[in-house]
Amino acid sequence: MEHLLETIGRNMFAIFGVMALGAAAFMVASKSAVHSVLGFLFAMLCIAGCFLALEAEFLGMAQILVYAGGIVVLFLFVVMLVEMTKFKEKAVFQLQSRYAVAAVLIGAAAFAGVFRKVIFGATSPEALVLRPELAKGLDVARQNAQAVSRGLFADYLLPFEILSVILLVALVGAVVLAKTERV
């Protein structure tokens, strides 16, 4: 039993990754929009698991909060708002689907061929580091949230602030777009 748990723990990433792939495939393939959203939710949770397995604890939590807590709810709201039964879905997939899938698969294969050395080559992980002046008094490996925040607010403050403006613009834009037009 312990051996099994240990094996699971060691292969956490692989497990979450495969589950995410499955959920994503379900999402793309399912006919109902609600099912798609559920698949999407599950894929996001799995990806959060992958983040955790990669020792990005803060991002894993953020992933759950933002996607599972925010975006998925938003999608569900819109699915409810848009009465899917009102218009008859003629077909789930495009007419070009076959070509598209073929092209993507060919592309993916070729891509994997080209980058096989990177993808299948042997690399070893390294410990996270911060610039010494930022890392002062911090155990970078254990205190992931603090490490990310120090890096973010020291080196990427401007992108961060710009992001806040973009969010504001998106907010206003969304309000304007979705607003009922008054005649």
Partner: protein, 774 residues
Amino acid sequence: MTTIMTADMTQMHAAVTAASQPASYLWLIPFLPLFGFLLNGLTGRKLKSTKIVDAIALGSVGISFLLTLYYFVQLLGLPAEGRSLHQSLWIWFDIGGAQVLGGLTTAKFEWAYKFDALSAAMALLVTGASFLIHLFSTGYMAEERNDGRYYRFMAYLNLFVFSMLNLVLGANILMMFLGWEGVGLCSYLLIGFYFEKEFAAVAGKKAFVTNRIGDFGFMIGFFLIFQVFGSLDYDTLMGSVREVANMPHITLYGHTASPTWWFNLIGCCLFVGAMGKSAQIPLYVWLPDAMAGPTPVSALIHAATMVTSGLYMIARMNFIYVNAPMALAVVLAFGSLTAFVAATMGLAQYDIKKVLAYSTVSQLGFMFMGMGAGAFGAGMFHVFTHAFFKASLFLGSGAVIAACHHEQDMRNMGGLRKYMPITFASMGFATLAINGIAPFSGFFSKDEILWKVFEGWYQHGHYTGPTLNLVAWILGMLGAFCTAFYMTRLIAMTFFGEYRGAGHDPHGLTVPSEAHGHDDHGHQDDHGPADHDQAHAQTAHAPAAPDDHASHGHGPAEVSWRMWLPVAILAGLAVVGGFLNYPESLHRIFPIVPADLFGKWIEPLLYQVAPVHHGEHTPPLIEYGLMIFANIWAGAAIFLAWWIYKVDPTWSRAKAFVARFPNLFRWVNAKYYVDEFYEAALIAPIKRFSAQLWSFDTWVVDGMVNGAARVTLIWAALMNWVDEYLVDGAVDLVEYIVQETSTVFRSLQTGRVQHYAFVMFIGFLVFAFWKFLA
């Protein structure tokens, strides 16, 4: 040497400004009238009641006056040497670097105001007189209240006050120049106020063009000042003039000469400007014509304020003139000549405003005489006393004109003493003042000027001064005699005898009325039915007697308080104003008021070549002698005029004189044909030359142009053919090809987003393989 000098200048500038106190509301004095102008000018047409226009115009000038008074009182509390307030609003413009005598300078011209003894006195005069004249206008312009241009008049007046205050309060020559041009513009606008009358429009143009000639001189003058001093700021100029005057020589434009030579040139150039603005020979011709404007305008602009700006400028620039003896001599010569010639012109005029106009020119000549004799204080003092009595006379004449149904010819007046006692009393006192009878104000100021001129020749009993001073003095005395004569004549013809306006004319003195030609407010029927103009009836046409009414509409009557009050106030000032500059010599005998108040007031602003000694030297006996003589002299002139025009109501002596010397009278009456001379000698040749240029233009230039046009036409026809068949053909071909090809590519545009995304993805793949597989 050059850089050192500039450095010294800046230091000195700093030192001078340090002595000057900042004043934070100084800007309101000129800007309030500007706000009034903007408010009235932009909204006046829309306002329901002209009372609001009155409130804005009078209010802005009134508050401005009170503010001036406030700062004046503040100035009184300061020590004599530091009597200066200033406010710098912003840098007007910055010319970067300029090559001047003192090396390269970075001149910044500030929009700054300076309130010192001289500008304070002028500002008081301008705001005070303007307020009274605004008040007068509310009565005088009553008719315009109904035809929608009243607001325009008031707005122009306010704009004028703004410009004039800029002129006197500006802290540098550029600010003065701004005001200088501004008052010129306002003068043009106001003279041509009745622009639908051709003579008014022409008079406005004449004033403007004549002034431009003067302005040209003024501009050259201050350009030279900038070249020599590297600054236009009064304080800086005052601070560095001694240094410049002591330089061995000055080289400008490749010409090397002594500083005095350059100062003479600058002084003469500036004086040309003053000639234009202050109506001196030979540029005085616009002023009499300017009487085409409404009478309050004549009083405000052409008697009390604008025409004195030339004097103010010379007083301001005294540090130049003190170092420029030639320029001073020129000023003295032209001033005395003007004083005399204009006075003789006034002798034979019948139009009441024309008499006053020539009188103004003549009095301005007196002021310039004072300046030319180096007595800047005396000259400036005459500016003030003259403003009092001449504004009073002008406004009085306006009242008379209004009362006589816009009649301006004195032959058609007479006997008004009975109808308008207040106006008569005011104008009477003002006349005594201008005649130079002690102790009215004109006596003190004019006598001071004449004495200074005489003293220049007298030289403490040595009689060694320049002959010019003696000649100027004689011309001045003759001018004074003429002044007393024509002013008494004016009073006698207007106020004494019988009223000749209502068809009552026992001696055959009246002439066909020209009332409709001049300043007639544009209304066509003075003697029409009583009900035709209510506003008019309230002010001027109040019925005098029932029988008059029956036969001839209305007789003259006293005007409303809005009109007589300013006249009376100004006359009151004309009576007592002289004591502000009570001469030292009289003070010794009758010490009733402190001596030389005005002279001492502006003394700190005057440049002294050598330190002044207020030595206790006894005034020479001849000074007293001349004072007494001046009174007798004026009295004789008054008596003569009285004898000719009052004692004999038929004016037979005057007629006999005219009959005896017909040519002399004709010449004087026609103002020596100066206008005609200008017309023949200057204007006609210019016109002829222009006509020749025009014919050159028609035949040669136009011919060339037309020829070019023909060639162009032929060429264009050729080009048209090429265009139509070759160029258009090529274009059509391209269009055809594009159209055919595009039908093929059109089918790719399905309008579906995912097709585009798919194509994009393929493109991306192609790009990626090309990039990484190659």
